[in-house]
Amino acid sequence: MTELIGSIVILIGAVFLFSAGLGMFRMPDAFTRIQAGTKATTLGNTLVLIGIALYFPSWSLKLLIIAYFVFMTNPISSHALARAAYGLQGRCGGGVRLETAGTPDERSGP
């Protein structure tokens, strides 16, 4: 019974991972692609690992460590990537005008 629930949770996680790939393919700009790639894969990964933990409860600690690590590092790396992309391009895509206090060289914060 828990195996069935676990496999359904894995299926939901796989749907999120597929939507990450779909978003990566169809989004119009670099920034939106970074968003699609990071948020959906983090959640999909966490759901898949929870589903596997329902299959084998004795594996829970290591799966929890993997999920915690992905949760911590994925946002940090995509934040650094988005900051680099903003420094390279300096604008958002899709016709949105960005009003900030200055260029990345003048700012001192994140």
């Binding site: 597929f18 990566m24 692609r33």
Partner: protein, 86 residues
């Protein structure tokens, strides 16, 4: 029943990987390609974990954890390099 659901999940993840590879090939800027690699490596973590489930071996999860560390460092290194200018 559970096996067919796992097979469907694996097929969906595979389709997502194919679309990510398409973005890796097509992406006009370097940032697009690095974002695609980030997505591919994080997806491969869940693929390795699924393979550990199917094969029934606990030690394969160490490999998934190493992949997490390496993916994070790769994207961070390329982002820091791109920040210094094209």
């Amino acid at each position: 029943m559970a096996e067919t659901i796992l097979l469907a999940a694996a097929a969906l993840i595979f389709l997502g990987v194919v679309l990510g590879v398409l973005r890796l090939v097509l992406g006009p800027t370097a940032v697009d390609r690095v974002a695609a690699i980030d997505m591919l490596t994080i997806t491969s973590i869940s693929l390795i974990a699924l393979y550990a489930l199917v094969a029934g071996r606990f030690i394969y999860l160490d490999v998934a954890l190493v992949y997490g560390v390496l993916s994070f460092l790769a994207v961070l290194a390329v982002a820091r390099y791109l920040e210094r200018g094209p």
